[in-house]
Point group: C2
């Protein structure tokens, strides 16, 4: 039996992907030269589609990478000479911080325990060149309110603000003019096969990378911002990219546009409300994140404690694959992705099943 | 009409790929967690298969990256403190050299013009920590004899020897014990969709990376050798990788094993002999590489001069897509990939068509 995959990533494919793959093979996309006009069209379709879907203003540019992990590295290499400041509240935000250290920068952090968020009132050292915020911590299901994120930039206008939106986009309606760089990978909210990251940067990021380069600091090679940028202007990439991945992204973004981003966002709200309500009123399992301000709409984490195995077994029997808790919480929590591919009906089946416990 | 794609990469897909993709979707591979046992099996299948196909000895390890461009960068980061030495005879070997400079190392080079090779008798400075050789220059169709490559290592045993085999594997029967690191990407000889690089390293490479790290030199982050290695030991990757790409690689390698590497190599020899003979005896078009010692068996470049457009048109009419000449040779040369996916019959049709000119 094919199961509905609620793991937070790779997650359930968007339901149109298989058809798009079939068409791609018919049209010879997987063996297309990445220096052809046809590829440029494919790349432009994905980029223009994302720009429309996410309402990305002009002056913001989109680059393709191999993964979001790669973007963590590229952000530090290209945008930080010495010091970045990281909000750490889980495994992924912590990893971003660690990567800065591995690249011989001197990152600072404000760390809180898993399941907690941050408020707007934080003193960030003036020496921080970059503020790294994880909009949605995939490990713990904590999401930061957009106004909180914008406040960090307002109070620290000289620092660049980087937002990891790996497991939240396309849900959040960001005001990009208040952010400098945002990134995600396609195997989560976009319901695509893994192997592609999307990096959005503004002109200030480009200027910073050029500044570091002019100082003789290495900002990487084939995927530094100047190389990515000069190729992106031609709808190309420096290397032979995941052509099929970029094609599929363009197609699924087209599907999202036809469905309407407003509908997608409303349905995400509805489904998350359904699950949180069920967990809140449940006798045995509870939401891990208790402060509603920080409850993620796209990755919902349940404290399942000693019932984890039983809940998992029941869900599997009903054709649903929950995500394990992350790291040390593997045996005591379950995570549920709430992405555009997960239908209202699937969420209704999920909560009805949880109520049986 | 679907054309046979002779471009050197991305090239014609291996003829089994589409069926493998269909099976992958049936089995839920594109939404599989990269931390699952199923993924570990997929990763092991690709790695074990490559080990058998290419006869890679124990003590050599295989890592997955986003592209071969990435491997150029990772080799320089992980294996060079200050100085690498590059054999440059075309656009790709030159790019490898340039990448070392972009990473603030001090690369040296021996450069010859496009279409030329190198002999075994080269003085490499003792200060070179790494010798970078491009086994097969995709831009010019020059391939170096294996004994020539081995000689560089024999005369410079303290340097690591890195071999770019992007557009030659699985054809060359390397004696890996005479090389330290080898790499390729899957969209060429393996006939797969682009978006995956394979990096083979030995224990000396691992030791060198650890040495640099111990000295406080940054060797990258999520894709440095220690991170790749500790994950590879578990058949995992540090990041969410191109899961579908790794699955397809394992499947196509399985197909190659059933067909037999000896057969694949013999057929490659036969097809290349056919094309070189046709070009040599042709009145209007000639092989670009005139010294038989250096004529690539896997990327064959023809000087088509003023006839380029006419030849291209005729081939397209007959359902064959030649590769353009690289860079400045775009209008005066054509390149023909000779990969396992290109059948003898297709090569016979190709030469019969060229004879009509």
């Amino acid at each position: 039996m094919t199961r509905i995959n609620f793991t937070p990533g790779p997650s359930q494919l968007y339901f149109t992907v298989e058809d798009h793959v079939r068409q791609a093979f018919k049209d010879g996309i997987p063996s297309l030269s990445h220096r052809s006009k046809e590829f440029e069209k494919i790349s432009k379709e994905a980029t223009d589609g994302l720009r429309e879907l996410l309402n990305i203003p002009s002056g913001y540019h989109l680059y393709f990478t191999g993964s979001a992990n790669e973007i963590w590295e590229r952000i530090i290499q290209n945008l930080v000479e010495d010091q970045s400041f990281h909000f750490v509240n889980g495994s992924f935000s912590k990893r971003f911080y660690e990567i800065a250290g591995l690249l011989n920068k001197h990152p600072q952090k404000l760390e809180v325990e898993m399941g907690k968020g941050f408020d707007a009132n934080v003193n960030i050292p003036a020496s921080a060149e970059l503020i790294a915020v994880t909009h949605n911590e995939t490990s713990s299901g904590v999401s930061l309110p957009l106004d909180t994120i914008y406040a960090y930039k307002q109070k620290n206008p000289n620092a660049l603000l980087a937002v990891d939106a790996v497991s939240s986009l396309p849900f959040p309606d960001f005001d990009y003019s208040k952010l400098d760089t945002v990134f995600f990978s396609v195997q989560k909210g976009f319901g695509l096969p893994a192997g592609l990251g999307v990096w959005i940067v503004n002109e200030k990021c480009i200027a910073k990378a050029e500044q570091l380069l002019a100082k003789g600091i290495s900002i990487g090679s084939y995927h530094n911002i100047p190389a990515l940028h000069s190729h992106a202007l031609k709808n190309q990439t420096p290397e032979t990219p995941n052509v099929l991945g970029i094609y599929l992204l363009g197609k699924v973004v087209g599907d999202f546009l036809r469905r309407g981003i407003k509908t997608i966002r409303q349905e995400t709200e509805y489904k998350s409300a359904l699950l949180y309500q069920t967990l809140q009123s449940h006798g045995l399992i509870k939401p891990f994140v208790t402060d509603a301000t920080y409850q993620s709409k796209t990755v919902i984490v349940a404290n399942t404690g000693e019932h984890t195995e039983k809940v998992t077994k029941l869900l599997l029997e009903k054709g649903m694959q929950p995500g394990d808790g992350y790291g040390p919480a593997k045996k005591t929590q379950l995570r549920f992705a709430n992405f555009p591919t997960h239908s209202k009906e699937q969420y209704e089946l999920l909560v009805d099943t949880l109520k049986l416990i």
